[in-house]
Symmetry: C2
C-alpha cells in the first residue's frame, strides 16, 4: 500500500520542520529567541477568556456549519469600519485562516488548475494547493523592489486557460509588503479581463505602518463578485491558538457552495467562537497600542539589519515580518548552525529559512524570514545575537 | 469565473440541508424532536469545562501541529484499555473526526483513485472524497441482512488497480451494524491480498449493545501497518462542539506524511485539547451509564418501529442510529411534510432521509435514519408522533 503522490510531494513546513532541533537546543539548557514563527507575545484580550469561562451550557453541542450568528454579525460590523458591507449569507466561519484558504482553493479550482501567487509566499499556500491538486504558479517579486508586484504584462504572461485565481496576502506574509492602491487596481483589472477570482488573505489588515493608506480588495466594487476575503483572529487579536477564521464574499453562490464543505466538517468549535465574538468588541485603542508596538519593533529589527555587513533588505511596511538576504551560502544550514552549534552566553535565535517561501527553484536560498514578535528588550538581544553569529559563521559567501 | 466542478458536484449534507425548514417550523411555534442528527443530549463531563476554565495563560498561542503531548499521552492510555498499543509518534490530534478522515483520504489516494465503502455510509465520506478527487465505490449492504458485509468475492469484484483503501465505520453510522470478528478478519485478508489500507472510523467504539464482542481493526496485528484509526471525542464524551479527533496508525511513515497536512493548518485549538485531556480520565462508570442509557433508548425506538405497519428494520447493535424502511414513496418528501404540514398537539419530529447515505442511485429512497439521542420521555413522544404521521401521510406506497 503506497501513500499518495500528493502527500509525498508536499514540502514540510519550512517554519515548523526545524522545531525539533530547537526543542533539542532548549533541552540542553539554551535559551532560544523565536523569530521564526508569527506567534505574537501580545496578550490575548481577556474578553476572550471571560466569554469562554462564562459559557454555561451543560452539553457542548455541534453548532451551525456556517458559524454562530453572533460571530457572523460581529464580522459584519467589523468590516463596516473598512467600508465593506457584507450580509449574513456572505460570511462563513472557518477553522482558522488555513481552512478558509483550503476551502477557497477547492471551490475555485479543479485538479490540475492553476492559481497565481506572488512569491515569496506564505508557505502553506503551496502545501494546501498540492494536497488538493492545484498548481501554484509564482509571480516572482524581489527584495530589491520591496516585493512589490511586477508590471501587468509580466503577470498576464503567466495566465493560461487553467488559471482560476490570483491568491495573495496583503499586508504580505512573509515579505511585509503593503500593495499600493495602483497595484490593487491592476490586479482588479487583470481578474476582470481574464475572468478570475481573487483570494485575498488580509489577516494582517491592522498591521500597516508609516501611515500608509491600506486598500482592501473588499473596497473594489467592480470586482466584488470575484473577491474572496480570507481572514482570521489569530494575529488581529493575538489568538493564534483559537483557530477562528472566516471567508467573506459578495458572491452568494460561492458562499453557498463552500457551505457544503463547511457542512462536511460539521462546525467550528463552539467555545472558540463564543470567545471570538467578544474580541470583536474590544475597543479600537487596542489596535492603536498594538500597532505602535509593532511599528517600534519593526524599526528595531530593520535598523539592526541595515547595520549588518552584507545583509540586504527593504523596510517592510506591514504585517510583522521581514525577509533579509544574508551573506551566507545556505540559510537553512545557517539556522541549524545557530541552534546546534552557536550561542552567546547560552542564548541563540531561531529564524525561518526563506527558500520554502519560493516556488521557483534556487530562489531564497540565502534569505531568512524574521518575525518581529518579541518585546523590545528580547528583540534587541536577538538582533545582537544575529550580528555576532554572522561575524562568526564559517560558511559565508 | 466559474466555480470548480468538484464543489458544484458535492451533494449537500442530507442531514443538514433540511435544517432551515426545521428552523422555520420552530419559528412558527412548533416543537421539533430532532432524531435527524447525532447530537447526544447527555451532559458533557464537567471535567472538560473545568479544565478550560482553569486555563490561565495570557496568550492563546499556536500549539503543536501533532497535538499537545498530554492529549496524545491520554489517547495512548485509552487505547491500551482495548489492547492496542500506540507510541507518541503514531497519533495525531485533528479538528474532529472529520479532519482525520479528510487527511487520511488525501494521504492514501490520489486524484482519480478509489476507496471502497460499505453503503449506506456516513454521508460526509462522500463529500470529502469528491472534494479531494477520490471516488467512493460502494459495497452495498442491506437492511434485511442487518447491514452486514457481503461475501468476500463480492467485495473483491469491486477492486481495481485504482483501489487504495477500504473505509468503514464500526459500529456503523448510519446503520448501527457491529461487524463480527469474522467480518473484520475478512476485510483484513482482503487488504493484505490486494495491498490496501483500512481507514477504520471507530468513533462509536463504546456504543455496542447486547454484550456483543467488539473487535477493533487495531487488534489485528498482521495488518497493523495498513490500519488507520479515525477517532473523535464527539460521541464518546458527548462533546461534539469541541471538534477534537485523532488519527492513529502503527505506520509511522504514514503519520509522518499526514503531519505535513497538520502543519499546513498549524494546529488544533489549544483550549479544546486542554479540555479533552481531562475527558480521558473520566471514570469508566461514565461509559457504563451512557451505554445503558443508549441501549434502553435503542430498545424504545426499535420496539416502536417494529409495531408500525409497513416499517422494516433490523435491530441495530451499535452506535445510536437505526435505518428504517418506511411505507412511503419518498422519504425526503415525508420529512419535509412532517416539518411543514404535520403536527400532534403542535409537536413534530425531524428525521434524516437515507437516500443521501447511498452512492448507488435509487437506493434508500424510502428509508430514513433515526438517531436515538433523546431522553426516554421525548423518545416515546417522538415515536408516537411518527406512528400517527405514518397513518395520516397521504403519499404512501
Amino acid at each position: 500500500m503506497n501513500l499518495s503522490k500528493r502527500v509525498r510531494g508536499m514540502q514540510q513546513s519550512p517554519i515548523r520542520k526545524l522545531v525539533p532541533i530547537a526543542e533539542n537546543a532548549k533541552k540542553q539548557g539554551k535559551k532560544v529567541y523565536h523569530l521564526n514563527i508569527g506567534q505574537p507575545d501580545i496578550e490575548t484580550p481577556s474578553e476572550f477568556f471571560n466569554a469562554v469561562k462564562n459559557f454555561d451550557e451543560k452539553v457542548l453541542k455541534y453548532s451551525f456549519s456556517q458559524g454562530i450568528p453572533e460571530l457572523i454579525d460581529a464580522l459584519i460590523e467589523y468590516y463596516k469600519r473598512y467600508d465593506i458591507n457584507f450580509e449574513n449569507d456572505e460570511i462563513l466561519i472557518t477553522n482558522g485562516g488555513s481552512e478558509a484558504l483550503l476551502f477557497s482553493l477547492i471551490a475555485v479550482a479543479d485538479h490540475g488548475d492553476e492559481v497565481l501567487v506572488p512569491e515569496p509566499f506564505y508557505t502553506n499556500y503551496n502545501g494546501f494547493s498540492s494536497a488538493v491538486g492545484v498548481n501554484v504558479v509564482p509571480i516572482t517579486t524581489k527584495a530589491t523592489e520591496g516585493f512589490h508586484l511586477p508590471k501587468k504584462q509580466a503577470i498576464e504572461n503567466l495566465i493560461t486557460p487553467k488559471t482560476k485565481a490570483i491568491l495573495l496576502s496583503n499586508p504580505g506574509n512573509p515579505t511585509g509588503v503593503v500593495y499600493t492602491p495602483d497595484e490593487i487596481q491592476m490586479v482588479a483589472d487583470i481578474v476582470k479581463e481574464y475572468n478570475l477570482f481573487v483570494i485575498a488573505d488580509e489577516v494582517y489588515r491592522e498591521f500597516v505602518y508609516d501611515n500608509l493608506k491600506y486598500t482592501s480588495f473588499g473596497n473594489i466594487d467592480e470586482i466584488s463578485d470575484r473577491v474572496i476575503i480570507v481572514d482570521s483572529i489569530s494575529k488581529r487579536y493575538s489568538a493564534c491558538g483559537a483557530r477562528i477564521g472566516s471567508i467573506a464574499s459578495k458572491n452568494k453562490d460561492l458562499i453557498k457552495q463552500i457551505l457544503k464543505l463547511c457542512q462536511g466538517r460539521l462546525c467550528v468549535p463552539t467555545l472558540e467562537q463564543v470567545g471570538a465574538v467578544e474580541l470583536y468588541s474590544v475597543p479600537q485603542e487596542y489596535f492603536l497600542d498594538v500597532h505602535n508596538e509593532y511599528q517600534k519593533r519593526r524599526d528595531i529589527v530593520y535598523n539592526a539589519l541595515k547595520e549588518m555587513p552584507g545583509v540586504i533588505c527593504e523596510k517592510p511596511k506591514g504585517a510583522f515580518y521581514v525577509i533579509a538576504k544574508l551573506p551566507v551560502v545556505d540559510a537553512e544550514e545557517f539556522v541549524i548552525w545557530l541552534l546546534k552549534e552557536f550561542d552567546v552566553d547560552n542564548e541563540t535565535i531561531m529564524l525561518a529559512p526563506a527558500e520554502g517561501f519560493y516556488a521557483t527553484e534556487g530562489l531564497g536560498k540565502d534569505e531568512v524570514r524574521l518575525a518581529y514578535i518579541l518585546n523590545e528588550d528580547d528583540l534587541r538581544k536577538a538582533m545582537n545575537i544575529l550580528k555576532i553569529a554572522l561575524e562568526k559563521y564559517p560558511n559565508k559567501k
